[in-house]
């Protein structure tokens, strides 16, 4: 009897240490709650608090209470940002993983997990944006089983679903290390290369499919943005956006969570930044050439001298060519600050491109076009809340899981 009590005490204590260690990062409850009170967390809590009633209203009173949605403008900024601008950023996982595992760029090794995590979490959030915007979100899984094979959206849905699964499997070694499960870990690592190739295929298809969604709108999308090359334009811009995002993610890691990075990560970051910067610059030259090619093939030159033409030129020169040149200078002079700035600039440019296709150049010829595309404030609050949640969750994981560091007992296993 006495033994039993002792034994159960020991397990409780063991579980408690395990729990504290894994979730509270080894701190006691009071220490941990004190560590939470920071200016950033206060601002985050405030945003989430404001957004809560808006989310409730959306699900109780319907979409029209929170977004501006009409027959002419069914997709608003929420989707432009959450899906169309988000997914190219979150292609980071497939680009870095392909670089390390398939192209054998060994110096990417400490960064693969961070990129894969960034991608996986991003895709999970993209799906969450859908759960806000779908008319009947509880039917989201219908997209898997109705086989609308003529629909580009069917392609997008299936590939995003498969790719989230693949990314979860790619990231599973980190989870298994956190849990300390060596046997499953070994198995999970052994299937990596097949998963990475699968990830490359799924990413290629769905990034281009996002562009292909608009192939069906020749009468509605402004001719400067409408092109039969939309799929390849979306894909090639996703490649350099992904590289830019990976550069920024690594920078955020060493800047804000330095104590969670091991030496290899910190020492390797400059070389990683330059290498990805080089790749991103190359991809941007390709994208720029394709954009000009599309313009020439459809012979749209005369449209450049209209108001939409100036806007188009601002996007192409100001947000593609300019960061492209800055990136080139940064790489040639190994100026890390400049590379990071150019990466941010390029990523913002792609967000602008997606918002243009989705919102600004879509149904551009309708009367009162510009009054219709301005999002109402609840939509903006919801976007801010989603971004906040995204950052909080990413930080939570980075603080606990072995992402930017290699645990000694798992050294050289992946």
């Amino acid at each position: 009897m006495g033994n039993n009590v002792q034994y159960s005490n020991a397990t409780t204590a063991g579980f408690k240490t395990w729990f504290m260690d894994k979730l509270f990062m080894g701190m006691s409850v009071s220490q941990y709650s004190k560590s939470l009170v920071t200016p950033f967390n206060t601002a985050a809590a405030l945003i989430l608090l404001v957004s809560l009633p808006i989310f409730i209203v959306r699900y109780v009173k319907g979409l029209s209470s929170v977004i501006h949605a009409t027959n002419e403008y069914p997709w608003g900024l929420l989707l432009s940002w959450g899906i169309f601008a988000g997914e190219p950023l979150f292609a980071a996982g497939f680009v870095v993983a392909a670089g390390y595992y398939l192209f054998g760029i060994k110096s990417y090794r400490p960064f693969v997990r961070l990129a894969v995590l960034g991608g996986m979490l991003g895709y999970a959030f993209a799906a969450s944006y859908l759960l806000i915007d779908l008319g009947r979100p509880w039917r989201i899984y219908y997209a898997m089983f109705n086989f609308g094979t003529t629909s580009i959206l069917f392609i997008v849905a299936w590939h995003v679903m498969l790719y989230v699964t693949v990314q979860l499997m790619e990231f599973s070694p980190a989870i298994l290390e956190w849990l300390g499960s060596k046997r499953v870990h070994k198995w999970a690592v052994s299937v990596t290369v097949a998963l990475i190739i699968g990830g490359v295929i799924l990413s290629t298809v769905h990034q281009s499919a996002l562009g292909a969604l608009y192939l069906i709108t020749p009468g509605k999308l402004h001719p400067l943005w409408y092109s039969s090359h939309l799929p390849i334009l979306f894909f090639s811009s996703a490649v350099y956006t992904a590289m830019s995002f990976a550069i920024l993610l690594a920078y955020a890691g060493v800047r804000y969570l330095r104590n969670r990075c091991d030496r290899e990560f910190i020492v390797g970051t400059p070389a990683f930044t330059v290498s990805l910067g080089k790749g991103a610059a190359l991809a941007m030259y390709i994208y720029f050439a394709l954009k000009v090619l599309a313009l020439a093939q459809d012979n749209r030159w005369s449209l450049l001298l209209t108001n939409f033409g100036y806007w188009y030129l601002l996007e192409l020169i100001g947000f593609v060519a300019a960061p492209m040149i800055l990136l080139t200078i940064g790489v040639r002079s190994t100026n890390l600050g400049l590379i990071r700035f150019a990466a941010l600039f390029a990523a913002i440019g792609v967000v602008l491109n997606r918002v243009n296709v989705n919102l600004i150049a879509y149904n551009w010829h309708l009367p009162d076009h510009f009054t219709h595309i301005i999002p109402p404030w609840p939509e903006l609050v919801m976007i801010a809340a989603m971004i906040t949640l995204h950052i909080l969750l990413l930080r939570w994981i980075l603080n606990r899981f072995p992402v930017m560091q290699e645990l000694p007992e798992y050294k050289n296993t992946h």
Binding site: R136, A143, T150, T204, G219
Partner: protein, 320 residues
């Protein structure tokens, strides 16, 4: 929201549970048959020119007097919610309205460019394309082009992505954004039930001005051409809907350019599905070639990696 629901309930009562279920079943079988039929035709020839005996509607805009009888009849026949302003109130013409979740059809007034004081009226509703972009875009098969001519929507499989609204070249499907639980697409059903019973569509039956002519689409095209031929000064030499996006069941004649009446004038003549089919057929190519290409790259790079492993890697840190 409550108004819509009431309308729906009323409709259900009217049809009776059993009858509507049988109707639904036959519709489903029809839907299956339609899908297979389209596919079979698509394999036989890339040119699908519509169901041969499909119905259509010829709208002679020169005859329309803007009485809105069609709006009223449509509202009653389809148990739609009561309008914001009564149907005999002509003040609605001050703004450009659009079909919505509350109404299948509206009539708008447009300035007559010829200088005449009388405006030109245009009835707006789903045009029931021969190869509908909404049906192409839908990931759920919620849309069916029936052999009779109507493009029908099934809310039971729809999850509300609204890609059909993005895809529709005429901005027709109206989405019920006001409903939290029953959000759905609302659009003209070409009085499918009435046609199957041998009746006219409600709007055509109600029109007192002879604007709307219901019949076989092929006959209506002949009639439209004859009207243009007999009155070359009156009509513009263009039957809107004959070729736009592969043809629509609803056809229009006008005395002013269609662009002035808000008709899109930049649509391709081929069905919009042809713009996406090339991309779709490239997807299996990616799936078959990429594993080989990237597998090869992996193999090549792994060979190189081993070499460099033995030479440089272990010393890299010390060197630096």
């Amino acid at each position: 929201m409550s108004v819509t629901k009431k309308g729906e309930r009323k409709q259900n009562r009217k049809q009776g549970g059993r009858y509507s279920r049988r109707n639904f079943l036959s519709m489903m079988m029809l839907a299956g048959g339609t899908a297979m039929g389209v596919h079979a035709l698509a394999h036989a020839s890339p040119e699908f020119n519509g169901w041969p005996k499909a119905n259509g509607m010829l709208v002679d805009l020169t005859a329309c007097v803007g009485c809105r009888s069609c709006e009223k009849a449509c509202n009653e026949a389809n148990n739609m919610p009561a309008p914001d302003k009564p149907f005999d109130d002509s003040s609605v013409f001050k703004e450009k309205r659009w079909p919505s979740a509350k109404t299948y059809t509206v009539v708008n007034a447009y300035e007559n460019p010829a200088g005449s004081s009388a405006p030109v009226y245009r009835k707006i509703q789903c045009n029931h394309c021969l190869e509908p972009a909404c049906a192409t875009a839908c990931p759920m098969h919620a849309y069916t082009k029936t052999p009779e001519g109507a493009v029908l929507y099934n809310e039971n499989v729809c999850f509300g992505c609204r890609y059909c609204v993005i895809a529709c070249p005429f901005n027709m499907p109206g989405y019920d954004y006001d409903s939290a639980l029953d959000a759905k697409v609302v659009k003209c059903i070409f009085c499918h039930g009435r046609i199957k019973e041998g009746k006219l569509p409600a709007c055509a039956e109600a029109c007192p001005a002879g604007t709307l002519t219901f019949g076989k689409r092929s006959d209506l095209l002949k009639l439209a051409r004859k009207r243009i031929m007999n009155n070359p000064d009156k009509y513009i030499d263009h039957i809107y809907g004959e070729n736009e996006v592969g043809g629509t069941s609803w056809l229009y004649l006008s005395n002013v350019p269609f662009k002035n009446l808000g008709f899109p004038d930049n649509l391709p003549k081929k069905p919009l599905i042809e713009l996406t089919s090339n991309y779709l057929s490239s997807v299996p190519v990616i799936f078959t070639t990429f594993p080989a290409i990237f597998g090869m790259i992996y193999g090549l790079m792994r060979g190189r990696k081993n070499e460099s492993d033995s030479e440089n890697a272990p010393h890299e840190k010390e060197v630096k």
